[in-house]
Symmetry: C2
Subunit: 347 residues, 2 copies
Amino acid sequence: MKKYTIKDIAKLAGVSKGTVDRVIHKRGKVSQTALDKVTKLLEEIDYQPNLIARSLKNSKSYHICVIQPDPEIDPYWQPCTKGVNDAINEYKSFGITIDSYYFNHAETHSFLKVNEEVLKQSPDAVLITPVFHKESIEVIKKYNANNVIVSTINDPLELNGITSYVGQDLIQSGRIAARLMEMIVPKNKEILIIHLDEVFNNSIHMQLKEKGFKNYLKNLSNSNYNLKTYSLQQSDLDEKLHSLLNNPNNVSGIFVTTSKVYSVAKIVQDFPDLDIKIIGYDLLDENIKYIKNNAIDFLINQNPKHQSYLCITQLAEYFLFDKKIPKQKLLPIDIVNSENFDGYTND
Amino acid sequence: MKKYTIKDIAKLAGVSKGTVDRVIHKRGKVSQTALDKVTKLLEEIDYQPNLIARSLKNSKSYHICVIQPDPEIDPYWQPCTKGVNDAINEYKSFGITIDSYYFNHAETHSFLKVNEEVLKQSPDAVLITPVFHKESIEVIKKYNANNVIVSTINDPLELNGITSYVGQDLIQSGRIAARLMEMIVPKNKEILIIHLDEVFNNSIHMQLKEKGFKNYLKNLSNSNYNLKTYSLQQSDLDEKLHSLLNNPNNVSGIFVTTSKVYSVAKIVQDFPDLDIKIIGYDLLDENIKYIKNNAIDFLINQNPKHQSYLCITQLAEYFLFDKKIPKQKLLPIDIVNSENFDGYTND
DNA sequence: ACTGTTTATGTGTTCGAGCACATTTTTTTG
DNA sequence: CAAAAAAATGTGCTCGAACACATAAACAGT
C-alpha cells in the first residue's frame, strides 16, 4: 500500500507534475488526451493528496476571535474558557492564533462594543456566544459582510449567516429532564419549573427546555403531574420559594432550567421533611457539591467546555486541512448523577 | 503576534539556521556564545516549531493494526469497527494506514493466530482488545520485544508493556448502575445481578462491575436490598429467569453487566404484573428498541466506537506530530435513557 | 512558409524543519 | 609557526503540493 505523490502520477502518466496538478485542480489548459490519462490514473490508485504538504504550502497564519460572556461575572462560562485555552495550546504550533474577548452578559452595549473591536481586527473567523438574540443577528450580518466566518455555540440562532453551530437540542434536553422526573417523582404530584438567572436576557434556551419538558409530560397516559412555572431573578428566589414551601403544598420535583440550580438546592435543604427531587443543569462546582450528597438528583451536562473546544477545532481543521465544517453539530446530552460526574469534569 | 521560523531566529541571533537547529535539538557542536544567544532568543520569543513542516520532513508511512473480536459474531463490536473506519478515513491522507484483523471471541487460538499474523507484518503499533486476559499478556510481551507500540481498549490490563489504555473505570461503572437502581427501586426489594454472555471468557470487566455495584449498595444506610448474582450463558437464561419469576418473588430490579441486556428485557416483558426495573449496557439496536418503550430503564454507554477511534487518534497524532500518548484515558460513563440515546448513536 | 496567437506542457521556487555534507575557525601538537 | 586535528558554523538539499513563469507545440491568418 504505497503512498502515491503527484510526481509518481506524473511519471506513470508520462506527463509533468504541472499537468497532473492542473487536472487535480481543474484549472483547464490540459489536452483531452492528457486529461483522460491522468484522470483515469487518479481514480485507479485512489490518489489522496498529502494534506500535510498541502497545508505547509498554504502556510498562512489564521486568526480566530472568541467572544463570550465574562467568566469572572458568571462562572457558568469558565469551562468555556478552558475549552478555548485547550484549543489555543493545541493549535499554536500550527500558525493559528486565538484571542478571547469578554463581555458583560448583563449589558447588551458591552456585547456590541466588544464586537466592534473584533470587527476592526478583521479576523478570519469568530466564535460568538449569542446570549443576546436580537443584537447577535445584527452583529452577524456585519461579520458576513466582511467575509468573517461565524460559528456559534450554546444558543441556536436560526440564521443563514452562520457557518457552524455546536450545541445541543434544547427541546430534547427538556424532555430528558422530564423523563428523569417521571422515574423519580410519584404520580399526581406537583412539579415546579423554575427559570433562574441573575439577569433577564433575551436568549431562548430556557423557553425551549420548558417546552420539551412540558411536551414530554403532557403525552404521558397515566401520570397527571401538576406543573407550575416561575421566572425568577436570583434575588427573588429566596422569598418566593420559602413562602411556597412553608405553606401546605404537594411539590415533589423541581426542574431548574439553568445552571443556577444550586441556589434552589440550598433552599430546599431547609425542608428535609418534604421529599423533593431536583434536576438542573451543568457541572459548576457549586452544583457538584449538591449532587455529591444527592441534594440534587440529576444534572444535565451542557458541556460548554467541549462545545467551545469543538467549535474551534472545526475552524482550525478547516483552515489547516480544508476539512469541511458541518452546519450544525448537536452534542450528546449527558445525564449526570452522584457517581458519574467525575468523568465529565476531568477531561 | 508574528510566527517565528528557524530562519528568523538565525538572522536575529546572527548565526546560521544550522546552528539554531543544533541548539534546538541539543546536538552539541555549538560554542557557548552561540548557544547562549540562541537559547535566550528562543525563550524570549517562545519559539514553537511549525509542526506541519516538521511532519512533512519526517513524512514516513505508519502502519497500525487493529485486532478485535469479529463484529459479525458478536454485534457488540460493530461500533468499534465504525470507530476504526472513521479513523482510517481521517488519516489516510496523512500516510497512516490501518488494517483490521478479526478473531473469534470464543476461541483463544483464533486470537493467538491473528496475533501471529500481525506480528509478521511488523506494524508500528497495534490496538488490541484483550478479551482473553492471560493470552493477551503473552502476546503483548512479544510486541514489546519487537518494538511495536501496544494500545488497548475496553479491558484494563495492569501491565507495563502497554503504551495506552482507553476505556472506562469499570468499578465506577457498577456504582453508577447501583445509584440509578437506588433511585428507581423501592427499599428492601430484591435485585438480581446477571452476568450474561454467549461464552465464558476470562476478561474481568463483569466482575469489576459487580464489585462496584455491590459496594455502592452496601454502604447505603437505609435501603436493605437483597442482592443475588447469576452467571449465565445466553442459552440457559430463558429457563432460569422464567422459573425465577414464575414463582413468588420480590424481584424489583435487574442489573445486567453486559450488552446482552435485551434478552433479559424480552423475558421480563412476559411478566407485566411485576414492576421490574432493568439496567444494562450499551446501545445495541436491540437494546435501543427496549429503551425506547421503557422496557429497559437505563443503559450505560461504554462507547466502544469512541474508545477505538480515540485510541487510534492518539497513535496517529503521536506519529504525525509527536504528541505524547497518555498512559490511561478514562472516558466518561454515559447514562442513557429513552430520551437521550439519540445523541450517542449519531456521532 | 513565416509570423502571431492560442493552447498545452514543463520547470523551478516556495512553504519550514531537519539533516548530511562542505567549509571555516579554533585549538592542539610536533 | 606550520601542519594536523578538532570544533564550530554554514550551505544546500529533501519532504509533497501549489503555483508562477518559461518554454514548446498547435493552429490561424496573410
